[in-house]
Amino acid sequence: MKEATTSASSVSVRHAHSGVAMPTKVHARDVTVHYGDKQALFNVTMDIPANSVTAFIGPSGCGKSTFLRCINRMNDTIDICRVGGTITVDDQDIYDPKLDVVQLRARVGMVFQKPNPFPKSIYDNIAYGPRIHGLVRSKSELDGIVESSLKRAGLWKEASERLNEPATGMSGGQQQRLCIARAIAVSPEIILMDEPCSALDPISTAHIEELIDELRENFTIIIVTHNLQQAARVSQMTGFFHLGKLIEFADTGELFQSPQNSMTEDYITGRFG
């Protein structure tokens, strides 16, 4: 069994997978984030396993989304934001100045809180990524990617007859699965999800959760959620953040049954504050 290690001794890290442990996909060491003078993230250190779902939980403003956005350098888009420490994906430093950020974001896809399809057809939404990244040479190849992405996102049955209709005509849950299909279309290695179900009803949420569980076979998934039950249902590892610090990072089953840190305990049992 692979042991998760951390240089930040204050963080409890436990792996308790009974099966084969996954290799580390994302390796974060002493990651800090400042927005101007304000420090938003303090020395976050964690190893995120490949082909697993890792959930980040914590109260609003705890830094979980900030850390998530470090993994595909989305924070670069904010002028006053400075990121410190190191993050590697498969041992490659993603903050290396020579690294092409556009390529990184193709490897590390993202799904946002609100479904944000382009105001285009269902087909064009999926085809957009492969086109701009030059991943296809022919129409038939593109058709194949659109079909397989929609199938992997569990949307093919509902969408195959209406590929040329506007994506905005779909239901919220369908739009979110379309956004996941769009992320998958460029064959990323990691998919970041920032509250992907917060705008969805329980049935649509269940579809997305089932999809997340299926997708982890081929992708590393990192999800930020305010819904603790969702973190418990979909993830294998959970990290609890508070005031910009990673407080505890552990096997999800253990964290929700017997957290080691009293702050984690108070938060997940609804005693916080």
Binding site: L228, Q229, A232, F256, Q257, S258, P259, S262, T264, E265, D266, I268, T269, G270, R271, F272, G273
Partner: protein, 236 residues
């Protein structure tokens, strides 16, 4: 018992109700065990009747715990300490219910024995009963106070209870071999001793669950077991 309160206070109220039923059950089981032993060694038939009758109250509390815990799981989706607490509550209630049944069975057997002087190994039985009564009281206090150290002390006592039971079993056997008139009361008394030992086992189960509830893990070694008597190994 919880260090801090939930933001939603009605959640605390529900968990407190579970505790109240369990502690009420525990009090009844303590009284049953004490009464059953008194009925046996002092020959008090009235107490024996009361012990037998109080069983329905214990069953009612168990039913209430079951309903409350099911409700909390369905409506609150408890996690961490709360999850361990309701899971423990459910198991503790089931163990207490069995302890009550076993105490009632001791009381029923006491009615069959005509005079307490017929009870072989009376003093040894009294000592066994007192020891198990002490375990029961301690484990209920550990539950009430969230005292993991006390729960673990109870858990370690199981070994000495097993040894006391084995000694009584051998002594009764010897008494029966020496005097066939002891066979009839001796058989009942052997069941009584076994029942007391089983009550001790249930108290040990509760000690395990209380430790789990408080610390999030079970006691860290295999439960100590006394040497078994040939042909009288513990049933799972």
């Amino acid at each position: 018992m919880a260090p801090t309160q939930h933001i939603v206070r009605s959640y605390d109220t529900e968990l407190e109700q579970v505790d109240r039923h369990i502690l009420a059950m525990g009090g009844l089981v303590e009284a049953q065990l004490r009464g059953a032993m008194e009925a046996l060694v002092e020959g008090d038939r009235e107490i024996a009747q009361r012990v037998i009758e109080s069983d329905t109250q214990i069953d009612e509390h168990e039913h209430q715990v079951d309903e409350l815990v099911t409700r909390v799981i369905a409506l609150r989706q408890p996690m961490a300490e709360d999850l361990r607490r309701v899971k423990t509550g459910l198991k503790v209630a089931a163990n207490l219910e069995r302890m009550g049944d076993l105490a009632a069975n001791i009381a029923k057997r006491s009615l069959v024995i005509e005079t307490p002087h017929q009870v072989p190994q009376r003093e040894a039985l009294r000592r066994l009963g007192n020891a198990v009564y002490g375990m029961t009281t301690d484990v209920l206090n550990a539950y009430r106070d969230g005292d993991a150290a006390l729960a673990q002390r109870v858990w370690r006592q199981d070994e000495s209870i097993d040894e006391m039971y084995n000694a009584i079993f051998l002594a009764i056997l010897a008494d029966m071999i020496a005097d066939p008139r002891v066979i009839s009361p001796g058989t009942h008394i052997h069941f009584v001793a076994k029942n007391i030992e089983r009550i001790g086992d249930h108290a040990t189960n509760i000690a395990e669950m209380v430790t789990y509830m408080i610390l999030g893990s079970l006691p860290d070694r295999e439960r100590p077991k006394g040497s078994s008597v040939q042909g009288a190994e513990e049933q799972p």
